[in-house]
Symmetry: none
Subunit: 140 residues, 4 copies
Amino acid sequence: MISLDQANIIITAALDHGRTANFKPLTVVVLDAGGHAIALQRADGASTLRPEIATGKAASALALGVSSRAIGVMAADRPTFVAALAALAPKGIVPAAGGVIVVDAAGITIGAVGVTGDTSDNDEAAALAGITAARLKAQG
Amino acid sequence: MISLDQANIIITAALDHGRTANFKPLTVVVLDAGGHAIALQRADGASTLRPEIATGKAASALALGVSSRAIGVMAADRPTFVAALAALAPKGIVPAAGGVIVVDAAGITIGAVGVTGDTSDNDEAAALAGITAARLKAQG
Amino acid sequence: MISLDQANIIITAALDHGRTANFKPLTVVVLDAGGHAIALQRADGASTLRPEIATGKAASALALGVSSRAIGVMAADRPTFVAALAALAPKGIVPAAGGVIVVDAAGITIGAVGVTGDTSDNDEAAALAGITAARLKAQG
Amino acid sequence: MISLDQANIIITAALDHGRTANFKPLTVVVLDAGGHAIALQRADGASTLRPEIATGKAASALALGVSSRAIGVMAADRPTFVAALAALAPKGIVPAAGGVIVVDAAGITIGAVGVTGDTSDNDEAAALAGITAARLKAQG
């Protein structure tokens, strides 16, 4: 599992990454393996739905077992299928990069990080920076 | 924040703009920065869902931090992503012009105006006329 | 039907009633006979859910054909029944005074007024003051 | 408004209060005045629904303009009414102490804190400790 201390390290590093790289204000969430929030921070100036979008990205990744970037690719190929899944998922399915599964040394899922606020590619880069800072590993 | 008096000025001016320009009957709403209604008026002859559409446009703008016109552009590029966000937003995401964020002198969001009833371009023009009449500023 | 001009008269008079009587900040909505908003105003200082509560009171009255005060009595007698109805009503069932049906000279329903912010009794008094000011009639 | 820095101070102090006082693991959220999350932390060992309960307490307070303790009293008097409101509130109504409105020097609402995990009284004490640590003020 991801402890609260680790989650805070992930979030602080992801927000720092965004500030250093001059991204728009980010919102970062860390969920446990069951999709339940451990910690969240929304930078000053971020818009109101950002907590739900960040959570949606991370929860989507856990829901389907792949990154939200991969779900974006799936949605381009099979939009009706992904839209149908969204109706089943209490926190939605957000088909855009920025939701990344976190695994332990054995490759077992221990949670996920979700980031939103800038481009999807930049959001994902911030998520990965956070995971690295906590000496954890993104799903390969 | 936008006071009720200011919200009423915005709505009266937006409706006047529509009448003068011979638009179809408009519905105009003003939301606070958190997306909660301050005031709404639906002109005689407007159809039944107009309050929800006007509210959806203004709430979308606040949810994502850009005008509903910009969300319309985003929806053309990434339809599945915008559809997915709609499921996360209690008042929906309406990807069409007419939802405009209102900012204070320092550029901080203080609310939003949503207009529906005519073409999206005309709806937005009415929203801007309302904001100007109240001596407030639309997000640049 | 209730025109937008009449709805604005109702709301202005209901808010004036509240201010004169030193009520807490009121929120007042006028719905058409189908339960769709014609106009709404939320006084400065009123809390965020007030538009939904005012709308819920007025919509409840139209949904069941009696005042929301009568629905409050019904809820005391048959709480499970009223709770079950709430699940069917898109704008909820709010079992407390302040939602009043407006009728024409022939007793036909033409809309409803919903008020919230102070005690239920005071909310209803403000609704009735608004209806009287517009020379309309509350359902007997 | 409450900045992210202030929100983090509130949460750290509320969690510290809980640890020092030997409370069960707490979950603490800070919402802006519109009910949108600024920051959240769930202590290790807290159960899965805690983020939603903490958010529900804080959002309830903002929705109705009083503490969630006061909503608990209201629910004891008028259970059906409070249950009905829950259906209108996107984040629910949680009628138990632990949701506290934060006001500025002029008494204007700038957000709310929600705490859950121990008894309601202890949850509220932790929320107040957090607000004090950030040199902010709870609604009187």
